[in-house]
Assembly symmetry: C2
Homo-oligomer: 379 residues x 2
Amino acid sequence: MLSRYRFLSSYVSPKARAIVFEKYGNPKDVLRAYTHELPPLTPTTLHIRFLASPINPADINQIEGVYPAKPTFTKELGILPDGEHKELAVGGNEGVAEIIAVGEQIKDLNVGDWVIMGRSGFGTWRTHAATTPNDVIRFNNKEIGLIQAATLSVNPCTAYRMLKDFVTLKKGDFMIQCGANSSVGQSVIQIAKAWGINTINIVRNRPDIENLKTHLKSLGATHIITDQELRNYKTKSLIKEWTGGNIIKLGLNCVGGEVATEMAKFLGQNGTHVTYGAMSRQPFFVPASHLIFKDIKFLGFWMSKWNKTHSREEKGEMLNEVIKLMKFKKESPADIAFEEVLWGNQNESDESLKNKFLSALDKSGAGFHGKKQILKMQT
Amino acid sequence: MLSRYRFLSSYVSPKARAIVFEKYGNPKDVLRAYTHELPPLTPTTLHIRFLASPINPADINQIEGVYPAKPTFTKELGILPDGEHKELAVGGNEGVAEIIAVGEQIKDLNVGDWVIMGRSGFGTWRTHAATTPNDVIRFNNKEIGLIQAATLSVNPCTAYRMLKDFVTLKKGDFMIQCGANSSVGQSVIQIAKAWGINTINIVRNRPDIENLKTHLKSLGATHIITDQELRNYKTKSLIKEWTGGNIIKLGLNCVGGEVATEMAKFLGQNGTHVTYGAMSRQPFFVPASHLIFKDIKFLGFWMSKWNKTHSREEKGEMLNEVIKLMKFKKESPADIAFEEVLWGNQNESDESLKNKFLSALDKSGAGFHGKKQILKMQT
């Protein structure tokens, strides 16, 4: 391995390309591509090179100014070719980067390490960034592919925390989730399977439902039921048969609306109902009897908040644990439907980079449908 | 004071009158009055004489078989004049009794002590009962009137626990409640006042709203707002003005439906929304953003469950604390609207006792409206 000192002797700050905005609004109106030089490395800073960064729904909401986690507006982006010096934010919250230079006072990170961002609002739609150790989390990248790494920090980590932090699930216990074919839902199935937890998975009925069932079974789903079947009066006894009368302790909800209310009925005494999304864009009903007599707790989970309140060490531990549990295969690029967007070529014009980005944004359909668009950096 | 031994030497088990049922159903169909002798006192049992017992809504639901806390069906009611020996339950869950005889091995209870029941399902619509120390909680009756004591165990204790157990409220903090003029709501106001907690009280608009406001103010309410006012767009800034920007940490809900959803909007980050009733008989909506981004917890409270999971010592402590906080005045009979029903005369026929009871039951209107009916025992 190159020593950081040897590396530094000939090191020149790279030119960075980024998708930035200076005020909230419709992404098409406010986003632009931007080229700048990274500030020179200091003894306590890092330079990182992004490898891949997805476009997630929350990123869009953040640019619109309607997301509670705010981006970081800063004048520190670097030396601007045109002398302009406005407060800019870089879009994107998730991605994987490689460390390319390490300030001499930093002892625990090395050139070549793969990192993800330790907080939301960092800005990941860019080729390079200057940062500090506090803002990055290193993880073991031996077992994990590039696209898996780029999409590791939000969905698989959300699944892991929700299975771990709300109730104590032992081998053989049961949990239930709706939106089971969401990215988080699929991670829930894999992590639960690794822990010996039985999953009851609710999905929307669809023409190719058998294909979906086969896919979820292959990930480790114990039982699969459609939202239509859920409303059938026989479902109560069916689920009782599945669980052998065991209580379902945990329900995970990313859909809201009717299915979130229905799901609560199947939770046992003292059960916990955790909401982490609202794909249906509908609130859900809570009947008082669930709260009063069954003592069911209706709680929420937000990965950004967890990240805000936990240390870099805890985050690193989590990442390495999640990588082990998910049984990522380096040769199979991802467990999600995605499309690579080759982006960030040093020689391309800002205009071309912007158009390429906006076209990917279009295809992501605000991220709720279709394949996830992932910028793969060509630097 | 009479020693328990001296007292026992001439003690004869009293004749007991009770409202009983042997199967679930419409109270009018299944309830009957019943006369029996108490089983003789043993070294480890007590005899108690009931002083007053209210008719509560939950009592009716229990007889109908639709309440999760079940009554105690037993063949142990005593020696039956007609030799009949079916499993019977006594109706009623709340009431105050006086100890009239104490088994010689019992050291911590005395003849003359006032007690309430330590569990639900004991049966309080009766003149006398044989029981054990575990089933009764002694309290200090010096500061408290008969009707106050008879209605102490459910509503004031529910208010006390909800203010104490969910979030840590310090002097000057804010809480909000709907159904603020309910029995529990009024206890909440009094206890919060004693602790220096500011209360924002939501009540339904009505023709005599000013009288109600005056009454709640006299109990210690900090602010009062109608459900109509709550929906006004100016309310947000009004409440912000009241709280001086302080976060509202706790919301208590006994109504459900729209007001329960509205109330949640005023809770601050990490707030707790506790449901203990559903007077509107409507479930309420939970928007995902409250759960995910504001981390509001939607929980329930049920006094019966608390009683089941806590010791006699803890219950006794709570009662004495509640009596102090509520500033009961022995000379003013109660803080609730009630009507005394003189009941249990030793010489009255079972038929007359039953009819008197059913007439009170009618007036209680299943307890949701009108004055609370309280059996005052004429023994």
